[in-house]
Amino acid sequence: MKAAKHGRKLGVIGVALAVTLGLIATSAPANAASADATINIGSLYEPQNLDNTGGGGQGVVEALNGNVYEGLYRLTDAGQVENVLATSSKISKDGLTYTFTLRSGVTFHSGKAMTSADVKFSLEKVSATDSKSARKSSFKVVKSIATPDAKTVVVTLSSRSISFIYNLSYIWIMNSTAKDFAAAADGTGPYKFSAWKRGSTLTLVRNDSYWGAAPKNKTVVYHYFNDATALNNALLTGAVDVITSAQSPDALAQFKSSAYKISNGQSTTKLLLVFNDRVAPFNNKLVRKAVTSAINNAKLLASIWGDYGTLIGSMVPPTDPWYEDLTGVNPYDLTLAKKELAAAGYGKGFTFRLDTPTYDPHPAAAAFIKSELAKVGITVNINSVTDDQWYNNVYKKHDFAATMQEHVNDRDVVWYGNPDFYWGYNNASVTGLINQAEQAPNARIQASLLKRANRIIATEAASDWIYLYPQIVVASSTLSGYPINGLNSQFYAYNIVKG
């Protein structure tokens, strides 16, 4: 009796095992020919919604920019501006009128043809009152937009703006008759938006009626994670083929094998120690210079990123046309720091509160800064703040002494020309130079004016630009054609080839 019962039990267990193993085996995905491959991309930056003027966030640029939506111009991975939906442009002599000729034969994924009305609609969407676009302030200079015919757009500016065409590369041309921009995406790009399972995956599928060259793969799936470890694990187990931007240098050691390739590209994200330039003691430029010279940025960079990352001496990264290496302006020199402190009247040191975001690398950097400044008699009180508290208290209310923050955009030295910006740097000649630069007649003059402004900003140590993040893309070594510079968070997927 017992033997039969055992036998039956074993039989049931055996069947269960077989079924489970069978399920595990059959669920392995079959990977077809390379041109029809599915690329799995892993990222920490899930879009909030699909509208980059509606608060979609960094993630929506990464997923949709250049893939689903295109602009009049595009920023290549190397940082060059290229024509996309605008085939040519004419600028009037006084620099106030731009006439764009649109590419013909372009349709949206829904089938509607793209016309100048859509361009006008898209530009106005960025400047609209409820627009949450980060580019809104750059388009204040637009006075009016006219559409004399379906293929021509005429934009009139209120003053010269040399960055106008560059800024246009951020604007998506959206379908003016579309109803939903937050949960749907009707663009002109090489991929169609297929599905979005919030918290999990966002899927793009090749657009077979694309006006340009077809993408080299058929399906792109973005997998979103909240946590860098889970993302790394996904790459280790092959669930994703590439990580768009590795944020945890510690974990890179796991990928140092021939199965993976770690690419070190150009990033535009800078880690800043931000002083509140309006209030004591940081309204005194000697104090700011002293603090800057007391912190060994090289050591901090090495301890956080190891061999990666770059030292900058200013807000300007190497990819900006007005870059200069200004690391020597406020060098690491404790004697100099003590001298400057004494000259400013703080020979005995002082205490200040450092509002520190809670996510990496800010806590580590803050702890390091605290121990460095202790050597010159300055006491730092580290105050951890959430994103929300940072935005409220530091950014909106300017209620801080010093804080740490990463600033991701390129060409953002112009923030120092605005005395109302949260760090409150107010230097009339810098503001003048920056405004002049924007109205410059050509790029060369713009660059030289901004260089001059930048040198002043650096000499006055308006902030401490600690280091430039590396842009690390980790991919399986069977993958190629992926962007490595990730400028402004974009991630073009159309050249990625698997195998």
Binding site: D250, A253, T358, P363, F368
Partner: protein, 275 residues
């Protein structure tokens, strides 16, 4: 008449031994640490060595020191949360135990609602409302657990109140406060202590979960839960950092559970319940 013989309980002894060690380590940490927590010179993520017995974390801080401070925090969380749960729970429970009819029904209903709401969810809500900090976490966990203590107290109080000697006491003119002090409290105390011991462990686990979800005290907090959360990024290269805090937390919880079991056994050795 049952003769209750107090007998040696191995559970109690082992449990007390473990928790005493942890308390000792926490006390020592106030006086001496191998390295100060601000010391980041250890080299990042180094392996266990003669100078750093369990290696260092990603900032170069000594892991042993962080674990010792973590012991402090774990014990603080446990004691404080239990204190809050005890005070709030006992008061509510007493009130409900003495209440009659509709007051009793309403209080009892309120308690049931609170209990139905899982402690961790309640803690997440409170932490979301007050911001992440160790005090928020302790308050949230304590408040969440108070419902359980309250319901138990109510049960025990009602049981005691239904006994004859209470009626006799009242008949002979004893005041309610005296009755509470002389009869109610001494009778409910043993069972409550057991429950406190169990809740201590649960508080530690809840704090670890909150830290793991990123809702606990912000860095540079060194609670064992946060250490676990930080360590998982580098579990392939530095497994010790992920194992040690977990083991310590498990040890703490097991020790209080053993103490709880032991106390039960000592109070009534005929009981063979596991809970």
């Amino acid at each position: 008449m049952k003769t209750v013989k107090a007998h040696r309980s191995w559970s109690l002894i082992i449990g007390l031994a473990i928790i005493s060690t942890i308390i000792l380590v926490a006390l020592i940490s106030w006086l001496w640490l191998p390295y100060s927590l601000d010391n980041t010179d250890g080299g990042r993520l180094s392996q266990p060595s003669a100078t750093h017995w369990l290696g260092t974390d990603k900032l170069g801080r000594d892991l042993v020191s962080r674990l010792m401070v973590g012991a402090r925090i774990a014990l603080t969380v446990g004691f404080s949360a239990v204190l809050i749960a005890g005070v709030v729970g006992l008061t509510l429970g007493m009130a409900a135990g003495f209440a009659q009819k509709w007051l009793d029904e309403s209080l009892s209903a309120l308690l049931d609602i609170l209990i139905a709401f899982p402690t961790l969810l309640l803690a997440m809500l409170i932490v979301a409302a007050r911001g992440s900090s160790l005090t928020s976490a302790i308050f949230a966990i304590g408040f969440g657990m108070s419902a359980i203590i309250a319901r138990l107290t109510r049960l025990l109080v009602k049981r005691v109140l239904s006994k004859d000697f209470i009626t006799a006491s009242r008949a002979s003119g004893t005041s309610w406060p005296r009755i509470i002090a002389l009869h109610v409290l001494p009778n409910i105390w043993p069972t409550l202590i057991v429950s406190f011991a169990l809740q201590f462990g649960l508080a530690g686990l809840a704090e670890a979960s909150l830290s793991y979800l990123g809702l606990g005290a912000p860095p540079p907090n060194a609670s064992w839960g946060s250490l676990l959360q930080e360590a998982q990024a580098t579990v392939m290269t530095s497994p010790i950092a992920a194992i040690a805090p977990g083991l310590l937390l498990v040890a703490l919880v097991i020790s209080v559970n053993l103490i709880a079991d032991g106390l039960r056994e000592v109070a009534d050795p005929t009981l063979r319940r596991a809970r």
